[in-house]
């Protein structure tokens, strides 16, 4: 028990549609993360599951029950909030046991369960403290203890780590994963931090403008994004997009051309296509030994270098009069690549680069839908298998 099923959920506020026909099927024990930009409807979707807002249309099923019209307390869920939301007038014990006391558990059972929950989140011996006497991380643990003490079917976590400092956030991330392993309960987690999404989830649900874009395991979202939004949102820095057209020889744009047989990927000559390639799949021509199947050389000029320590991001300008801009996803004449930290390249150097054909994504420019992930020189249709083989 503990599966969550959303069917055709729509939530409208006056004339704004916050959630638009959301369909989700989350399995028992799964860790699913909702990611998306601010205001994309991920929190509204979460509140709909929690029962804090009622959907305009559609049904919510939790553990096989239709809970669309049930109040939050009868849904078998618990929630951890972004602002932690501990009751400031109660000590830790009262905070954790709040839900149990409301449900008239006897005192011994309450004590036993609170002790157990405090042990899980490592808060032993702090049950008499008031929330204001605790640090941010401790408060967040109390909030988590309050959520797990009732043994809910489903945990909802609405950006629980957003208000913690960076170091604590990484620590709590591991704690949450440990907790999930220990409790084995369904967890639905809302975040806009894609590092959290990538590291913790079984599946990521990418949401934009109230619509579900893709729900898949993290690496599938990364390697086979369903559309340009997912491709651009997952991965940092974001994927390069180059708009172009299909010719008989393959993809053609002003500065980059990639040749393949259009028939193999199922596109017709003349259709508008967006080519996507991640920065780590752009290589200097001199380092093609890492690439099984490189595209034709592209000459470029380096613009800005961003050394990150373990790698260096290089902004490339493809034409002489290209405007310097950090936003590579917007311009067709710019390309972002990452390379080894020991590179000898400096600013304003002329270099030539190639793309790894097996990691090139093709999207339909008009709809943004993915057409193909990876291209092969051979006649074989580009598939996931081809991609995996080439990455070995």
């Amino acid at each position: 028990m503990g599966n969550v099923k959303l069917e055709h959920i729509v939530k409208r506020y006056d004339d704004v549609t916050a959630v638009d026909d959301m369909n989700l099927d989350i399995k028992d024990g799964e860790f699913v993360t909702f990611v998306g930009p601010s205001g994309c409807g991920k929190s509204t979707t979460m509140e709909t599951i929690a029962g804090l807002t009622k959907p305009t249309e559609g049904t919510v099923n939790i553990s096989g029950r239709d809970v669309t019209n049930l109040p939050p307390k009868d849904r078998g869920i618990s929630m951890v909030f972004q602002n932690i939301a501990l009751f400031p007038h109660m000590d830790v014990f009262d905070n954790i046991s709040f839900g149990l006391r409301l449900r008239d558990y006897d005192d011994e059972e309450i004590q036993r369960r609170v002790d157990r929950a405090a042990e899980v989140v490592q808060l032993e011996g702090m049950q008499d403290r008031m929330p204001e006497e605790m640090s941010g991380g401790q408060r967040q643990r109390v909030a988590i203890a309050r959520a797990i003490v009732r043994n809910p079917d489903v945990f909802l976590m609405d950006e629980p780590l957003a208000n913690l400092d960076a170091k604590l956030r990484v620590h709590m991330r591991t704690e949450l994963q440990r907790l999930h392993k220990e409790l084995d309960t369904t967890i639905i987690y809302v975040t806009h931090d894609q590092a959290e999404a990538m590291t913790m989830s079984d599946r990521i649900a990418v949401i934009n403008a109230g619509q579900l874009q893709q729900i898949d395991p993290p690496l599938v979202c990364y390697n086979e994004p369903a559309n340009t939004f997912v491709a651009g949102f997952i991965g940092s820095p974001s994927m390069n997009f180059i708009e172009g057209e299909i010719t008989a020889d393959g993809f053609e744009s002003e500065y980059i051309s990639v040749d393949f047989d259009p028939a193999n990927v199922g596109v017709s000559v003349g259709s508008k296509i967006t080519l996507g390639v991640r920065p780590e799949d752009v290589y200097e021509t001199s380092k093609t030994e890492f690439v099984d199947d490189a595209t034709a050389e592209i000459t470029a000029r380096t613009d800005v270098l961003e050394p990150m320590g373990n790698e260096v991001f290089i902004y490339l300008l493809l034409s002489e009069d290209a405007e310097s801009s950090m936003d590579t996803s917007q311009a067709d004449d710019q390309l972002l690549m990452s390379t080894d930290p020991d590179t000898t390249l400096g600013e304003d150097d002329e270099i030539s680069v190639v793309l790894d054909r097996s990691k090139v994504h093709l999207f339909d420019t008009a709809s943004g839908e993915a057409i193909s992930h990876g291209l092969t020189a051979s006649a074989a249709a580009p598939t996931v298998e081809a991609e995996e083989a080439s990455s070995d």
Binding site: L52, N83, P88, P131, R150
Partner: protein
């Protein structure tokens, strides 16, 4: 820099040194110092204002107290001290020193004044409870929910509070003197006249708007997250209001409650007209005080004593509640 310092000091010393040369009176000297040091002025203003406030507030109480202590025979001659007060009598073994402290017992022996006090206390307490509960519901709705027509409705509450209570009196008096059949099982003659309901009901209505506005402001400040958390943990919206929102708004609830209690306890107009003035018929304190007024004599000293006794419960309440309000304000700083 270091060399400049003594110079400035020297200049100041010179100025100070000149002062004794001018012949100044006490006030002029004080004013001259105050111009150099404005803090003295602020301090003086503070004390002036405080003393003025204390005198205007406390002098009536002192006056009541000394009138109460004046022996009955000397009532035509009331001064700043009880007439007949003579400290030298203490040496002769008269510890009352010519005053009449026994008046505070007379208050209760002449008429059942304690009944009047209990009446006032019960009416004020019941009204406060009704007001806090109903105003909490209204404050929750106005402070935390969004719905069409919220602004006009709050305005309506405000407008109703502007009506003078006297405007409601005649229709209410008519209503409360009408025998209503369905009330017969609980009220002897089926009318509300001479019952506490005739006061609790209009008081609740009249003092409600103020409490609604106070509580609306306080409830609106409680973060949504806390209410959501309470609802997820297992309360209804109402449960969240009484278990989380109200305790966190304790200062506001205390303020609204104390204001309502004092206003009702001191109320005269409705209390006087909605009862026949007898203690058994829930007449409040003011009616009791008026009982000391006879046909041929007005017992001002007993009335004064009764007034002081009547004020005590409210004075105690305010002292206790103020401590609560202050502690609530300092501890209630919500950190999330």
């Amino acid at each position: 820099m270091a060399t400049e310092k003594p110079d400035t000091h020297q200049v100041l010393m010179d100025d100070d040194g000149e002062e004794p040369d001018i012949k100044r009176g006490m006030f002029e000297a004080w004013a001259a110092k105050a111009i150099k040091n404005p803090k003295r002025t602020y301090k003086a203003m503070f004390y002036t204002a405080t003393i003025f406030f204390l005198v205007t507030t406390l002098f009536p109480f002192y006056w009541l107290f000394q009138v109460a202590l004046t022996p009955r025979d000397n009532l035509q001659d009331v001064g700043l001290v009880p007439s007949g007060f003579d400290p030298s009598l203490l040496a002769q073994g008269d510890i009352t020193m010519g005053t009449n402290p026994g008046v505070f017992l007379e208050v209760f022996t002449l008429i059942p004044f304690h009944r009047y006090m209990i009446n006032s206390f019960v009416i004020a307490t019941v009204t406060t409870i009704v007001v806090i509960v109903v105003a909490s519901l209204a404050g929750y709705v106005f402070g935390r929910l969004r719905f069409p027509g919220k602004g006009p409705m709050m305005l309506l509450v405000l407008i109703v509070s502007f009506f003078p209570p006297a405007a409601f009196f005649i229709p209410l008096n008519e209503l409360f003197n009408t025998n209503i059949d369905i009330l017969r099982p609980i009220l002897t003659d089926g009318s509300l006249y001479n019952t506490p309901y005739a006061m609790v009901v209009p008081f609740s209505a009249i003092f409600m708007p103020l409490s609604i506005f106070i509580l609306t402001t306080f409830y609106a400040q409680i973060p949504d997250g806390l209410e959501d958390a309470a609802r997820i943990e297992g309360t209804t919206r109402l449960g969240a209001l009484f278990r989380v929102i109200m305790p966190l708004s304790a200062p506001g609830v205390a303020t609204a409650g104390v204001l309502t209690f004092i206003a009702v306890y001191n109320e005269f107009f409705f209390s006087f007209l909605m009862t026949d003035g007898s203690a058994e018929n829930w007449a409040p304190i003011v009616d009791g005080i008026l009982q000391y007024q006879g046909q041929y004599e007005v017992l001002f000293n007993v009335m004064a004593a009764a007034s002081i006794v009547g004020v005590l419960p409210v004075a105690i309440l305010v002292v206790v509640a103020q401590e609560k309000i202050v502690s609530g304000l300092t501890a209630g700083a919500l950190k999330e």
